[in-house]
């Protein structure tokens, strides 16, 4: 009996009138935890009852404490008939179970009813007395901290980053149970809410157990998702990164550390291996071992309703390994390595983090992704009873008969995909995947599972505590090395996994870098960026015939490779059009609907100083004889060139001109390549001229040989840049802007459009979808115009296809204001700085790269494109039009690499070094005057930080799931009114919970699901929303300033963990 939960019901306010006669309410409260229920007295005739109850005490296992939510129900007492429910409050008491988090939950909670929404508020106090329990075989994992934040939380230091943890739990969906046919919608919704709450609790507990087994104490980048598979069940799955975190004792000591990057820079160890070929030896041995000794069978052995893919251990063996590692000392690593290499502790060397401690990320290989199409109904066929009805739950299932084996199936699916990801990463010469995420898209019985991440080489220092000593000496050398390392290719240049186009790093001149770099992570803080970044989106629709089951799955599988290909082409084109050379935060979402597939890729484009200047886009025509056509082409070409020039100006991309001597002769192949392409495409002379205009840079050729291609070019040009004063990105921070002021506005915007079913062609669809997204962005810019100058950060688009002709787009982002004048200054400075640095570096390091140059230059890194193209595309049976437009190797690879069910490897790499010196200084100066914050205001942001403020405490994870339903849709203002009110209520409930924990903000907030269904004919609608984030306490930087300025700049590379993210 290791815990005592105490609850006190204080008062209520603004209750609804439940008794029409008196216009009052006789309210009382039921407090339920597990199977125990307490009741307060009835407070007669009041809308603002004062119960002031005694302390209700629940004596419970800590396992239950983790799984169960506290359930508070407010009712209206009725002497003669059944008591009417007013509404409920679910309180997750998990935050009370960590030692450092909240100690009490106390505050006003909105009373929520799934039919009526928020109906008044209730004041509750909750406490937990936890008794220490040393039982090692316990099933609970109290004390493991969870963070949604995908970087090391601000007031912590990462001692070890253990790696990937995952878990999934499956259950029947109450919405589809037979009982749902006879119970009220309210009862059904509540059953669902409660179940999901329970399942999340269980999931979190199980993940916690895995973390304990790995000897970690926290999960960072925790992402939990629901798959509503309809009649085949409800899956709750989660992934995260297990870490051992140390709390930084003095927050003030930490602050100056990040404000003085110049110092910190020297401290940061950097595992820069001069020879790219030997990178694979960099990682610690366990990593390597497991890479090669993977045995797939492992992931299938697990216990009943949970998945164990990661550890592949039963809890018992886990304990064993734990004690082995416990011996400690220098032998620990070795010991563990020996004992655990067999257990493959890091079966999947994945990290859900998107930002890392300095020095953690050594090289980045590029984006790896995998998709798989699965049929849901197949699993359950034997148990399927299949009664069709006309109620909401139209199928009757016998659940118990197959529940037990379900997690295995799902686990197997995910294991398969993860395996794929891992092998992709290996092909890129990387031993790890960072910025890893998983998602699903479900339509009827078809489910697309997707996973993506960024292949990377990591510094082993953070992965194993035993290796720190070895790193010490390394550090000295590392100090000398440059900071463009992460751009350098991790794979073997002579044995490349794909035909890449390499040049010498524009920063250090000694390593090879690719021409473009795509990643799913945030921009490393030490990377040198020129100009500003911008949001780049690729949008795509493909019609699909309606089909059933397997035929449907096959159709989707066949479409997927084309979708991926097109999405990547679009991204590449748009990136070039912006004059940029790298994408960060890339997220490609493929959504499946009844009769179409939608692809939406969002990323933040930047110009990395270490990568070569991107070439322009050339248009080539197929029919050179036609004069007017020629004219048209040249006209288009001019427009494109103008756009590129305009964009360069807009985003302030003025890469320093580096003299030829320093660079050495550039790799000559770009020109050859373009010529090659040109001859292939039989285009005319103006291309040559244009080629010249792009100088020696690599040019990107677009061939206009059919209307399709025309469309593409047009769509390229239709993307309107944000109005002046606005910037947007989907990463945490906007590259090139450092002086945030403290005003933030987080928002969610949802749009649903109905397509006219008449002329559904791919083009029309694409246009509709494109317009939808563009208009949505325009609306956002308009709405937030009062915040100018500002930047929309972490713009997160989600597409779903709720019905045949409906497209739903949900956007969550945060608008942050910044100080324009200082922004200009800072950029300038950082450019200057990087220039200086570049030249000094070049001088210092000249001898070394020269040697390398002579070696590698002759060996032409770019094989004849033409042949490659031909062979690749003809093999894969790509339509001629597309084949011809394959102008970059990236698409090639994709085409080749794609097997039916999966995606592709995407690659790139890059750059360079930090500009934090300038940034840091300015940031110091720009500490914004704090807006007078009113008590009770709770800020919400999808970012991991709050501009102009310092997070002093993490109070725990917020993970909430709500259902709202209405049978009076028109009366509530139609679908818009209904959803608007619901989202506002969700925000309110999140804020109330945070405030009750004693916090004043939610960071890393994310709306993971917003499933909206309507039936206007019946005047009904239903919506499910799932949100999560980290509740925190923050203090305005201005309040801290006095303290921090007195603190000497303490060393500690550790303490600068992630501080830079806030710049």
């Amino acid at each position: 009996m290791p815990g005592k939960l105490k609850v006190k019901i204080v008062a209520g306010r603004h209750l609804p009138v439940m008794d029409r006669a008196s216009d009052l309410t006789d309210a009382f409260v039921e407090v339920k935890f597990g199977n125990t229920t307490f009741k307060t007295d009835v407070y007669l005739k009041s809308l603002n009852p004062q119960w002031n109850s005694e302390w209700f005490k629940f004596e419970v296992d800590d396992e239950d404490l983790q799984d169960e939510p506290l359930q508070i129900t407010v009712l209206d007492h009725d002497t003669y008939s059944a008591n009417d429910a007013i509404g409920k409050v679910y309180i997750d008491i998990d935050p009370l179970l960590y030692s450092e988090a909240a100690t009490v939950i106390s505050g006003w909670f909105p009373i929520y009813d799934t039919i009526h929404g928020i109906r008044g508020e209730i004041n509750v106090v909750v406490k937990v007395d936890l008794f220490n329990d040393l039982n090692r075989f316990r099933q609970s994992s109290c004390g493991v901290k969870f963070f949604c934040t995908t970087s090391i939380p601000k007031c912590y230091r990462a001692v070890i980053i253990h790696g990937f943890v995952e878990e999934l739990v499956v259950n029947e969906d109450p919405e589809y149970q037979w009982i749902d046919r006879i119970r009220t919608p309210r009862a059904s919704n509540e059953a669902r809410q409660r179940l999901i709450s329970l399942m999340s609790g269980e999931l979190q507990r199980k993940i916690g157990l895995k973390v304990l087994e790995m000897r970690g104490n926290a999960v960072v980048g925790y992402l939990q998702c629901f798959d509503l598979e309809g009649e085949s069940g409800l899956v709750v799955r989660a992934i995260g990164t297990a870490c051992t975190l140390d709390k930084l004792s003095s927050p003030a000591a930490f602050l100056p550390a990040c404000n003085s990057p110049s110092k910190e820079m020297k401290e940061i160890p950097f595992n820069e291996d001069p020879n790219p070929n030997t990178h694979s030896s960099g990682p610690s041995t366990p990593l390597k071992n497991q890479t090669y000794s993977f045995s797939p069978s492992k992931s299938y052995s697990r216990q009943s309703s949970s998945s164990d893919t990661d550890l592949s251990l039963t809890p018992k063996t886990g304990m064993g390994s734990g004690s082995a590692g416990k011996e400690g000392g220098p032998f620990k690593a070795l010991l563990r390595q020996q004992t655990q290499s067999a257990l493959e502790q890091r079966e999947f060397p994945f990290f859900t983090l998107t930002a890392f401690p300095p020095g953690f990320l050594v090289h980045v290989g590029g984006v790896v992704s995998a998709r798989s199409v699965k049929l849901l109904d197949r699993i359950h066929n034997p148990a399927f009873v299949g009664i069709m009805g006309n109620t909401r739950s139209y199928k009757l299932l016998d659940w118990n008969s197959f529940n037990s084996d379900e997690p295995e199936t799902r686990d197997a699916w995910w294991a398969e995909i993860r395996q794929e990801i891992k092998s992709h990463a290996k092909a890129l010469g990387c031993h790890a995947v960072v910025g890893y995420s998983e998602s699903t898209s479900i339509c009827e019985e078809v489910c697309i599972l997707s996973a993506s991440g960024t292949a990377a080489v990591l510094n082993p220092r953070f992965l194993q505590d035993g290796t720190v000593e070895g790193c010490l000496e390394q550090r000295l050398e590392e100090n000398l090395s440059t900071r463009c390392g992460f751009c350098h290719i991790p794979y073997d240049e002579l044995n490349m996994p794909f035909p890449a186009h390499l040049t010498y790093c524009y920063n250090c001149r000694k390593q090879k870098v690719p021409d473009v770099l795509f990643t799913t992570i945030d921009l490393p803080t030490d990377a040198t960026v020129i100009g500003k970044g911008c949001l780049i989106q690729a949008r795509l629709c493909r019609l699909k015939k309606k089909a059933q089951a397997e035929a449907n799955a096959t159709a989707i599988s066949n479409l997927l490779p084309f979708m991926e290909y097109e999405v990547h082409t679009q991204l590449m084109n748009k990136l070039k059009l912006k004059g940029m050379n790298a994408l960060f935060g890339l997220r490609i979402q493929i959504t499946v609907g009844e009769n179409m597939l939608m692809g939406l890729a969002s990323a933040t484009g930047v110009y990395l100083a270490a990568l070569p200047t991107p070439g322009g886009i050339q248009i080539a025509g197929k029919t050179p004889n036609d004069g007017s056509y020629e004219q048209h082409i040249s006209h288009m070409q001019k427009k494109i060139n103008d756009t590129i020039a305009k964009n360069k100006e807009l985003y302030e991309i003025n890469p320093p001109e580096i003299s030829e001597e320093i660079i050495g002769s550039p790799i000559p192949e770009p020109r050859q390549r373009s010529r090659l392409l040109r001859s292939q495409s039989e285009s005319s002379d103006e291309v040559t001229e244009l080629d010249l205009s792009h100088g020696k840079k690599d040019a990107f050729v677009l061939e206009i040989d059919d209307t399709d291609a025309m469309e593409d070019v047009h769509s390229l040009l239709t993307d309107v840049p944000p109005p002046s004063g606005f910037y947007s990105c989907n990463t945490e921070i906007m590259p090139g802007i450092n002086n945030w002021t403290s005003e933030i506005q987080m928002f969610t915007s949802v749009r649903v459009i109905r397509l006219s079913s008449l002329n559904l062609t791919n083009q029309a669809l694409n246009k509709n979808f494109n317009d939808l997204c563009e208009n949505l962005l325009k609306s956002l810019y308009f709405k937030l115009r009062s915040m100018i100058p500002c930047c929309l950060c972490h713009v997160n688009f989600t597409v779903s296809l709720p019905e045949d002709e409906l497209i739903q787009v949900t956007v969550t982002a945060v608008a942050i204001t910044f100080d324009k004048n200082q922004a200009l200054q800072t950029t300038k400075t950082s450019v200057e700085k990087s220039l200086q640095r570049a030249s000094t570096d070049n001088e210092e390091l000249l001898q070394f790269p020269l040697e390398l140059c002579s070696d590698s230059l002759p060996s032409h890194p770019f094989p004849p494109v033409k042949e490659h193209l031909e062979s690749a595309s003809s093999n894969s049976g790509i339509p001629a039009a597309q084949r011809d437009r394959c102008s970059s190797w990236i698409e090639l690879i994709k085409l080749k690499a794609q097997t039916i069910r999966r995606g592709s490897i995407k690659t790139t790499v890059t750059v360079e070094k930090a500009s934090p010196v300038g940034d840091g200084n300015f940031r110091n100066r720009s500490a914004p005057p704090c807006a007078n914050s009113t008590v009770g205001v709770v800020k919400m942001t999808p970012l991991s930080f709050i501009p102009g403020a310092k997070i002093t405490k993490y109070l725990g994870i917020i993970n909430m799931f709500f259902i709202r339903e209405t049978t009076s849709l028109r009366e509530e203002g139609g679908v818009s009114g209904f959803l608007h009110a619901f989202i506002a209520e969700v925000f309110a409930m999140v804020r109330a919970h945070v405030a009750a924990l004693g916090g004043n903000a939610v960071v890393s907030y994310i709306m993971k699901q917003c499933v909206f269904m309507e039936n206007p004919n019946k005047n009904q609608a239903q919506c499910l929303i799932n949100v999560s984030g980290d509740a925190v306490v923050f203090v305005r930087e201005s309040d801290l300033e006095v303290v921090s300025s007195q603190q000497p700049t303490t060393n500690c590379q550790s303490s600068c963990t992630e501080g830079e993210v806030t710049t």
Binding site: T748, S756, N775, S976, L979, A984, F987
Partner: protein, 357 residues
């Protein structure tokens, strides 16, 4: 491609003041969009009409949801659904309870009942204020009236406390409630030259001096009703007009004092008895509800108009009224000095305010 659903929800609720005004003014979304387009906002921001439409809809929806809370402003402060900075909350409330002078004119002194509401259509046509806006304003009056009707204590304080209005607006509402409660006739053609401000000023004076709360602050009764006892007592003032000697004496006292100081002395002298009789009779008649309602009509008829037709300057009116009310103290046969002072104190203020073109 039609938009089925289009919403924007901010963690901090966005309030666009311009759209709020349009909403308060009762414009439909379409009209509001048209008005916004005309304001040149599209050119300023480079937005499209569709964006404007969506934005306007969004704001309207938000306001619609907020309206329920605005009906009980303290709720707006304590609710959790919309996170709105305090300054914005104040703005929302103040604007919501603001009213049009043209509208208040039409309903001032009328019973705030359903029957009157039917007339809102006419008022809307007459004033050019949209029916929606009329409804809101009327409902505001009625709501404030209902809430403070039975309350004890200061009327202005009660209104401020329950509706969180600024001092200025609370005073205006006090006047409206006071007028509605006593049903003063304000609609007569003769009174057309008066502004709401004039009435509000008078109402405030009357609340201060003529109600129960005014005499005895211990007895914290309502501010809304005129002090019945006081009205009853004022019958006693009749003697000032009825008793010929007293009237003559009064006249001579006033004339003596004002001789040479008044530009319109002769007109005053000629009219003194009429004016005095008028004022005294107004006081004496106030026992009847009907006469209370006609108070302002009577004052204008009996005093303002005669003076105005003789072109008294305002300063002369002031001199006259001061002297007229002070001289009574020298009338030996008159015993109701206190009563007179209370009456004239209010009346003098009112008349001076009412005396203009």
């Amino acid at each position: 491609m039609t938009s089925e659903l289009d919403i924007f929800v901010g963690n901090t609720t966005l309030i666009d003041e311009d759209v709020y005004r349009l909403w308060l003014d009762g414009y439909s979304v379409t009209d509001a969009v048209a008005l916004r387009v005309r304001s040149g906002i599209l050119e300023q921001t480079g937005a499209t009409a569709a964006v404007l439409q969506s934005d306007t809809m969004d704001h309207y929806r938000t306001f619609h949801m907020l309206e329920r809370l605005l009906h009980a402003p303290p709720k707006l402060l304590h609710q959790l659904i919309f996170q709105i900075p305090p300054s914005r909350q104040a703005l929302l409330i103040e604007r919501y309870y603001a009213f049009d002078e043209a509208f208040v004119w039409e309903v001032l002194g009328k019973k705030l009942s359903k029957g009157t509401k039917k007339d809102l259509d006419d008022i809307s046509t007459k004033t050019g204020i949209t029916l929606k806006s009329c409804r809101r304003q009327f409902d505001n009056f009625k709501r404030v009236f209902k809430v403070v009707e039975e309350m004890r204590g200061s009327l202005v304080d009660n209104i401020q406390q329950h509706f969180l209005l600024s001092d200025r607006l609370a005073r205006d509402y006090a006047a409206i409630v006071f007028f509605a409660n006593n049903r003063f006739e304000t609609g007569k053609k003769k009174l057309q030259y008066l502004s709401f401000g004039d009435f509000a000023f008078c109402a405030e004076l009357m609340i201060q001096n003529g109600t129960l709360g005014a005499v005895d602050s211990q007895m914290d009764d309502m501010d809304m009703d005129l002090d019945k006892e006081f009205l009853q007592d004022m019958k006693e003032l009749k003697v000032l007009a009825a008793d010929k000697d007293l009237l003559d004496l009064h006249k001579s006292l006033v004339c003596t004092a004002l001789l040479g100081k008044l530009g319109v002395f002769s007109e005053m002298e000629a009219n003194f008895k009429n004016l005095s009789r008028g004022l005294v009779n107004v006081a004496a008649k106030l026992t009847h509800n009907k006469d209370v309602r006609d108070l302002f009509v009577d004052l204008v008829e009996k005093f303002v108009e005669p003076c105005r037709s003789d072109h008294w300057p305002l300063s002369d009116v002031r001199f006259f009224l001061n002297q007229y009310s002070a001289s009574v103290h020298s009338l030996d046969g008159f015993r109701h000095q206190a009563l007179w002072d209370r009456y004239m104190g209010t009346l003098r203020g009112c008349l001076l305010r009412l005396y203009h073109d």
